[in-house]
């Protein structure tokens, strides 16, 4: 056991840092949040990484992965966080991609993996339904076989960024008579341009449009879009969720967030002195950083055991719970730090673009919306209550 970086790893960090500094699009520098960006800007870095061969580091090398060690991946995410890059969205790279290369046919791999790698195809996730959230297996969307097609009917919800999506992956019920609800589900890919698919926006409490309702009405999908075997979709869905959770800790981004919080707390004043000089506030930053360190080393241990051949297991639930708690506390402390200037609401504002009378410091503008938005993290990807159930059942055997 040791924590030293090898000379090769130090060299790797230099290489990665230089690449990001040289290639990250100028106009996206300093843009911290992707919420208000257009489709092209959200894909820009993904496409640059695709050309470099670095867009899917976690994939097996034969599908385009980089073959990096856990330490290299860790360095990679730190260097990206350092520049606040807009990373490839997870729906293709971390979700459907691994499902396709693990369970899909050769034709399917050949058809879909390149577009995920190079960032030319935008994917969205059709899992949750209005009546099937935490109890995902109770989903009601149906896929009925009709010759060479499945016909999909139902409603999905919380479909993140589906307004831009080219393709979607959907969990559908193919056997309504299965003994257990989990046994009659299939994992089906659909071109979002197929007739019968309708995407309607859901506005969230931060004022943004990130999620959608996706309505499926007699959507005809070729049978070759079925992933793996019919009625085995639950297995693939769980595999995907475990993958989703392992990326969810967001350690490097949270470390960057703490740096920014320190900068804000050094600028804001309390009784004429920097807020960071206040013991009370500083103690909260320290507590956050200590908890983040615990999360970081838990993630490193998890990555190391994955590298030793163990896939992401129920331990990834720890990363999800602790990672999202830290992200939420970070945004909460940031809002606390900005004081009165947490109140102004800036979405679509100011319309006149005038900066003659600026409304508070720039770092305050997104503090409240970001705090509101980040409440989603303990709900999505399997709520934190569900994660605790998983740990209780799968690890503790209760």
């Amino acid at each position: 056991m040791n924590l030293e970086f090898t000379p090769e790893e130090v060299e790797f960090r230099k290489e990665v840092r230089a690449f990001i500094e040289e290639n990250y699009p100028e106009h996206l520098r300093g843009v911290g949040a992707r919420e208000d960006l257009g489709k092209e800007d959200m894909l820009a870095w993904h496409q640059i990484l695709g050309k470099k061969g670095w867009s899917v580091p976690a994939w097996p090398e034969k599908y385009g992965g980089t073959g990096w060690t856990p330490t290299q991946k860790y360095i990679w995410s730190e260097e990206n966080a350092r520049m606040d890059t807009i990373m490839p969205l997870p729906f293709g790279v971390s979700m459907v991609g691994p499902v396709i290369y693990t369970f899909g046919s050769e034709e399917m791999k050949a058809k879909h993996l390149p577009g995920i790698r190079d960032g030319s195809v935008w994917w969205c996730q059709g899992y949750s339904e209005p009546g099937a959230g935490s109890d995902l297996a109770s989903l009601k969307t149906t896929a009925v076989r009709d010759g060479d097609h499945y016909i999909l009917n139902g409603q999905k919800t919380w479909t993140t960024l589906a307004q831009h999506a080219d393709w979607g992956f959907f969990l559908c019920r193919t056997d309504p008579n299965a003994a257990k609800p989990q046994e009659g589900i299939s994992f089906i890919l659909a071109d979002m341009n197929t007739s019968g698919i309708e995407v309607k926006p859901i506005k969230t409490i931060d004022g943004g449009h990130e999620v959608n309702e996706t309505w499926l009405t007699d959507v005809r999908v070729p049978v070759e879009n079925l992933v793996g075997e019919e009625n085995k979709g639950w297995t693939y869905a769980k595999f995907l969720l475990a993958h989703e959770r392992s990326g969810i800790a967001g350690v490097a981004r949270s470390k960057r967030g703490v740096e920014k919080l320190r900068a804000i707390a050094s600028t804001e004043l309390l009784e004429g002195k920097p807020l960071i000089r206040d013991d009370e506030f500083l103690r909260k930053i320290s507590q956050l950083e200590i908890d983040l360190t615990a999360l970081e080393f838990t993630e490193l241990r998890t990555l190391a055991s994955e590298a030793a051949g163990k896939g992401p297991g129920p331990e990834s639930s720890i990363l999800k719970v602790k990672g999202t708690e830290i992200q939420q506390r970070l945004t909460e402390l940031t809002l606390e730090a900005v004081g009165h200037y947490g109140h102004p609401y800036f979405r679509g504002f100011p319309e006149d673009g005038s900066n003659e009378f600026p409304i508070g410091p720039d770092y305050a503008h997104q503090a409240a919306p970001t705090y509101f938005n980040m409440r989603k993290t303990s709900i999505y990807g399997g709520s934190n209550e569900i994660q605790r159930n998983i740990i209780s059942k799968m690890i503790l055997g209760l």
Partner: protein, 385 residues
């Protein structure tokens, strides 16, 4: 000891609750908040007709002779309906300054117009670099002949876009954070030299950045004694803090109630999610937070007229509990609603947002914890052996 409400207070509560139920449902509120004006002057008139704007003023001042408990009752109902109209800035703050320190002429000029609903006030006290410290002022007022000349920048002045008048705190002498040298003025918002930058707030209200550039205020715009206003400001802000605590306790109760109801309807795994013990206990914790917030709001409200130290301790203790309780109840309400709690469509998220922002009004948890600790931190007279 008596925690019951008078007949008048119960009447105010009932008639206000009925008005808000009929005319301030969540969809109506949403339309108002998204409209260009952002509020309803005609609703303000109805508040005037109901006597709400007269409630906490003495009969000789033209009011109904009520007290802080009347304001508490009103603010709790406002909190339940997420009312955006500026009761605290106009009635509690401006009204409070006039009530405690206004000359007969000032009362004559302003109180009738406030009670009648014709004048609307905003309270310009916060500054970009002052945080919650009421004495940390860079805005200045300089005596020139018979008037004062104001210069400075006031931050996040809630309700300023709707206001006809501003109450402004400014330094007439001394250094930036001195307790002495602070004065309070009433200024017409359309006075020469005032510029505002108006904007919506994240919880559905409106506010402004207000800039004063050589704004001339006649000497009769000064409220109270020149340079000695800080104790008066602290008293009024404590009254406003108690009022915002009452608003929070109203909002907290509704958010809790909505969550309990949702958990009884929402089924997952074949049962209502309210059957899961892990959620039951959290909703019980929310309930206890709400109950304790009620207790603390009553306590602080009833101590507003006691000596300065008692009042400050009581108000700070209440605001600490309300800040912590509001945060817990708001976060859990969203969490237990799941994805639905994140939507703009459901009311619960808007209660969460209002409770969040209440923490940073008139001093947040840390500010009030610090004030409480400073008031109580003297070593005991007889040290333990």
């Amino acid at each position: 000891m008596d925690f019951s409400f008078s007949e008048e207070q119960t009447m105010i509560r009932d008639s206000l609750a009925r008005l808000l139920r009929d005319q301030y449902d969540f969809d109506t509120r949403r339309k108002v908040v998204e409209s260009e004006a952002g509020w309803r002057p005609e609703m303000w008139q109805q508040f005037a007709e109901l006597g709400l704007l007269a409630a906490p003023f003495s009969e000789e001042d033209g009011g109904l002779g009520g007290d802080a408990v009347d304001s508490m009752v009103i603010m709790e109902e406002f909190g339940k309906a997420l009312v955006v109209e500026p009761y605290i800035p106009t009635i509690i703050c401006a009204g409070g300054f006039l009530k405690h320190a206004g000359t007969p002429a000032q009362k004559e000029e302003h109180l009738n117009a406030i009670i009648g609903g014709e004048s609307v006030f905003a309270f310009a006290y916060a500054e970009p670099r002052g945080r919650y410290d009421l004495a940390d002022l860079e805005t200045t007022a300089k005596k020139e002949g018979d008037s004062y000349v104001l210069n400075g920048h006031k931050a996040v002045v809630i309700a300023a876009p709707w206001a006809s008048h501003l109450v402004v705190t400014a330094r007439t002498s001394g250094e930036r954070r001195d307790r002495d040298g602070i004065s309070v003025f009433i200024v017409k918002k359309d006075a020469d030299g005032i510029t505002t930058r108006d904007y919506p707030t994240v919880d559905g209200r409106r506010a402004s950045e207000v800039y004063f550039e050589n704004v001339s205020v006649p000497a009769d715009g000064l409220i109270g004694e020149e340079g000695k206003a800080l104790p008066l400001i602290e008293r009024v802000v404590d009254e406003a803090t108690a009022a915002v605590c009452a608003e929070a306790m109203g909002a907290m109760g509704v958010a809790h109630q909505m969550t309990v109801e949702y958990s009884q309807q929402r089924k997952q795994f074949g049962v209502a999610i309210g059957k899961f013990q892990v959620l039951q206990h959290r909703m019980v914790d929310m309930f206890m937070e709400h109950e304790q917030s009620i207790s603390m709001t009553y306590m602080a409200t009833l101590k507003l007229d006691e000596d300065e130290e008692t009042r400050k301790k009581a108000v700070s203790a209440a605001k600490v509990r309300i800040g912590q309780g509001g945060r817990f109840v708001g976060q859990e309400a969203v969490q237990i609603h799941g994805g639905m709690g994140m939507t703009d469509e459901l009311a619960v998220g808007h209660y969460f947002k209002r409770m969040t922002m209440i923490d940073s009004e008139f001093g947040n948890v840390d500010y009030h914890m610090r004030r409480y600790t400073r008031l109580t931190g003297e070593p005991a007279k007889v040290a333990a052996e």
